[in-house]
């Protein structure tokens, strides 16, 4: 039964509007979008566009932790997120916060115990718990550090620990708010590879990320936010081919910027967004000359 629900997890947001307590403006305004089970979605937008706030509403932190007024609806598997039981919600949605320093419990003395913390709270059997912890620690290259105090880790290691702790919970939907911000380039690639593995497991992934060159290789669609509103929800090539994309303060993949500068489009009329597309396009040109 559990497996079935994993595969059909689906998010539907309708006319979602939210304002933080005492805030003058709405952080989210009339957002409507739906995400199919197993899809990977990128959320982009300038600082303050509402990306993290959208993550908080999806994970139920709004309105449980951050109060304020929610209008419209946000549903997972047809059930309202704001009123779903916390226990159920935790099994469905995992959230990796933007700042790993905020994610770490601070209550645990070792890396190992930190990962165990969430699992203990879910009441996972001991054997399975150990197995899950070993798997994620190895996956994120933290196994050798398992007996260290989390606060002895570097920023990058701490961020990997935050991701590992959430992944160990095996949520159906994983939300990552700038998960690679503190990571070196190889660490970033490792995290994205881990995310693409999740995709093969049918997990729905929502990721806020500024490293577009990496993002576009892994996501099916991108939601572009601006001032709390959803500007466009479409494939990466359509998003970044928008003539007015620069107006939203997000920039674009450097490959797209280069091809726009050179006036080069793909045969389908859109600009390339990824490394491979750009190599194909440019080497084709070189051959013609």
């Amino acid at each position: 039964m559990d497996n079935v629900s994993t595969l059909s997890a689906k998010i539907s947001i309708e006319h979602l509007t939210y304002r933080y307590p005492f805030a003058k403006n709405r952080s989210l305004e009339d957002i409507t979008l739906s995400i199919d089970a197993g899809q990977s979605i990128g959320i982009i937008g300038r600082n303050g566009a509402g990306k993290s706030t959208l993550c908080y509403t999806l994970s139920g932190l709004i309105p449980r932790f951050f109060h304020g007024k929610i209008e419209g609806s946000i549903k997972i598997d047809g059930e309202d997120v704001p009123t779903m039981s916390v226990e159920k919600l935790i099994r469905k949605v995992g959230l990796v916060l933007q700042n790993p320093f905020s994610q770490i419990s601070g209550a645990k003395m070792t890396v190992y115990e930190e990962v165990a913390f969430g699992l203990e709270n879910l009441g996972i059997e001991k054997d399975e718990m150990h197995e899950r912890i070993d798997t994620v620690l190895k996956q994120f290259d933290l196994y050798k550090k398992k007996d260290k105090n989390p606060f002895e880790l570097s920023g990058g290691q701490l961020q990997r620990l935050a991701i590992a702790s959430v992944l160990a919970l095996q949520p159906e939907i994983l939300i990552l708010d700038e998960p690679t911000s503190q990571l070196d380039p190889c660490g970033t690639t490792e995290v994205f590879e881990a995310i693409s593995q999740l995709k093969t497991l049918g997990i729905t992934v929502i990721i806020v990320e500024h490293k577009f060159e990496k993002l576009v290789e892994y996501v099916d669609k991108i939601a572009l936010l601006n001032d709390g509103k959803l500007v466009k929800y479409d494939t990466p090539e359509k998003i970044f081919s928008m003539p007015q994309i620069e107006d939203y303060g997000v920039g674009q993949p450097i490959y797209t910027a280069l091809c726009k500068r050179m006036g080069l489009k793909k045969p389908n009329g859109y600009y390339p967004v990824s490394f491979n597309e750009t190599v194909t396009l440019l080497s084709g040109l070189k051959m013609y000359e």
Binding site: G155, Q157, S181, C186, V250, I254, Y255
Partner: protein
């Protein structure tokens, strides 16, 4: 090399007995815009904390504007060298943006009776990072990106000769990153020595004249950015990646190392002409 503002001689550093996280570092820094890159845990942050005098060398010496960090106090050093931490929450504790920025200058210029001077310095710094419209806000009400800029302003307000930025591009969108690049250029034009730790290789390619690669507590490579970032082997050893344009240029067999879109376009059209 006479205008080296920072001189590091045979520096070793260990947090615990004999576990050296920095090993025999010999390097000098002048006013060239310099990026320090390296994988997580390579010793970059430890290194800049030693420069700032927060940590004292286990062996060797660090000279800041001719003063040995062992022979002075952190308070004295903070008049010459400022460090913007990676995590802004590590350096904020006031309840208003303006108070946060004024704290450093107030202490540095304690003897100066002129309160206005400190205020003006602080406003000037906040204007540079474009937070001068948020003076009365609580630092924790700012976004992470703004908090990072606030920390930068707090350091700029003290007007040190040397400014070190530890991962300033974290949590910044592309426009803020561009803005940050402009702030760094302004600071350099103002005669500051700016060292920047970053993982953003495109940011390095576009904005820094010199690049230093740290690897396992040592300097693996150091030189003009174009040269350092074209050495694929070193970059791979250090667990880094080439900047996206350099990677693209390699895939297309360019003979040069384009660091900007302009460089790339120029070289591409040259290639095409040569092929005609």
């Amino acid at each position: 090399m006479s205008d080296a503002v920072i001189k590091v001689d045979g520096l070793w550093f260990a947090y615990k007995d004999n576990e050296y996280v920095l090993q025999d570092i010999n390097i000098q820094f002048d006013n060239r815009p310099t990026a320090i890159v390296g994988q997580n845990g390579a010793g970059k942050t430890t290194f800049v904390k030693v420069l700032k005098g927060l940590l004292k060398p286990s062996k060797g010496d660090v000279w800041i504007s001719g003063t040995n960090t062992k022979e002075t106090t952190v308070a004295q050093l903070s008049k010459i060298i400022g460090l913007v931490f990676q995590n802004p929450s590590d350096q904020m504790f006031k309840s208003k943006v303006i108070d946060e920025v004024m704290f450093g200058p107030q202490n540095i210029w304690k003897d100066k009776k002129d309160k206005n001077f400190v205020y003006e310095q602080s406003i000037k710094a906040l204007r540079i990072v474009e937070l001068d419209n948020k003076l009365e806000e609580h630092p924790y009400d700012l976004t992470l990106s703004e908090r990072k800029l606030l920390c930068l302003a707090s350091v700029i307000a003290m007007d040190p000769k040397i400014i070190i930025l530890d991962e300033p591009t974290i949590a910044q969108d592309r426009f803020s990153t561009r803005k940050l690049a402009e702030i760094i250029k302004e600071l350099i034009k103002d005669g500051k020595v700016v060292l920047t730790i970053t993982h953003d290789m495109d940011f390095v390619a576009e904005n820094f004249e010199r690049t230093v690669i740290f690897y396992q507590g040592q300097v693996l490579d150091d030189g003009p950015t174009e040269k350092v970032l074209s050495n694929e082997e070193n970059v791979a050893t250090a667990h880094l990646e080439l900047p996206n344009l350099v990677r693209l240029a390699k895939a297309l067999d360019f003979k040069t190392t384009p660091l900007t879109i302009d460089d790339f376009v120029e070289e591409f059209s040259r290639c095409k002409k040569a092929g005609d």
